[in-house]
């Protein structure tokens, strides 16, 4: 996803002198000459991408830490699964950074990112299913006005 705009430019003009991890850098892009001179779209793209990666890394890390702290308190399987899903979310900017640095190819990048999507969705679904199971046993201690409502051991 990250390299698409520049790849498009490359396909149209065929004027690349280098390609860093799928991020192709046009040497000259005649159709965009004015834009290049005025705003430097390639630099802007790189800067934009790095900022986006940094923000998503910080954001996902904060949410993951919150989930980990909540799991530490609750020690329940749904919380563990949600923490796992948010951990997979943290992996996404890491993979993205690897791609920008040329360590991970775009093909691998896409495979890993979509695999992470699958893992996130799977873990969240498992968490929801698990809660459904818990409600069917008499473990809910305070939820009824008419039944016991307390855990007399």
């Amino acid at each position: 996803m990250y390299a698409d705009p520049s790849q498009q430019v490359g396909r149209v003009h065929g004027t690349f002198d280098s390609s860093i991890g799928g991020l192709s850098v046009p040497k000259t892009a005649p159709g965009l000459e004015t834009a290049v001179l005025e705003s430097g779209p390639v630099d802007w793209l790189d800067w934009h991408l790095v900022l986006l990666l940094a923000l998503s890394a910080i954001g996902s890390l904060i949410v993951f830490c919150l989930a980990a702290a909540a799991f530490h308190r609750r020690r329940s399987m749904p919380y563990l699964l949600i923490t796992g899903a948010l951990g997979a979310l943290v992996m996404r900017p890491i993979v993205g950074t690897g791609t920008v640095l040329g360590l991970i190819s775009m093909q691998t990048h896409h495979t890993i990112e979509h695999l992470l999507d699958l893992i996130i969705a799977g873990l969240l679904l498992a968490a929801i299913v698990m809660v459904g199971r818990l409600e069917t046993n008499p473990g809910s201690k305070y939820n009824s006005e008419t039944t016991d409502g307390g855990n007399r051991q």
């Binding site: 909540a70 530490h72 308190r73 749904p78 929801i128 809660v131 201690k141 305070y142 008419t146 409502g149």
Partner: protein, 170 residues
Amino acid sequence: MSETRGEIRAAIAGDPGVHFNALVRETPFAPGQVQYHVRRLIDSGDVVRHERFGRTHYFAPEYDDWERDALAVLRRETAAAIATALYSRGTSRPNELVEALGIPRSTLEHHLDHLLECDVVEREYVRGNHVILSLSRPAETAALLETVDPHPRSRLVDRFERLVDSFLEG
């Protein structure tokens, strides 16, 4: 007593039940320094170490066992809200608390477990099968609620828990 130790002691006195990490954040000293001085303060009886729910809390020695337990649990935003609601209502059924506070049932259950374990809240069974909750020591609990304020990070975790619980309960 060194100036550093005095500052750490004052930080503990000003934030009863503070965790080690929060103490490091709140004082300008390195973790190793804080650890050393806290250990010395515990040895001299100026600070009491109290373990509750898998976390270590530090207190000034004037708090008794019940107060230390109560403060450990009342440092949480949701638990404090439950205790405040019980204080103002006197007694309440669990379902009434869920409605009044707008919190998911499993969040209430989790915090009630801690409040009951620390003897802050007591549970009574009326007509055999109804549960009535009330504060064990209303006046003392109200006084303790005045002394602690949940830390911003702890508040965020509490809100995350409530969100996840409501999301999972649908």
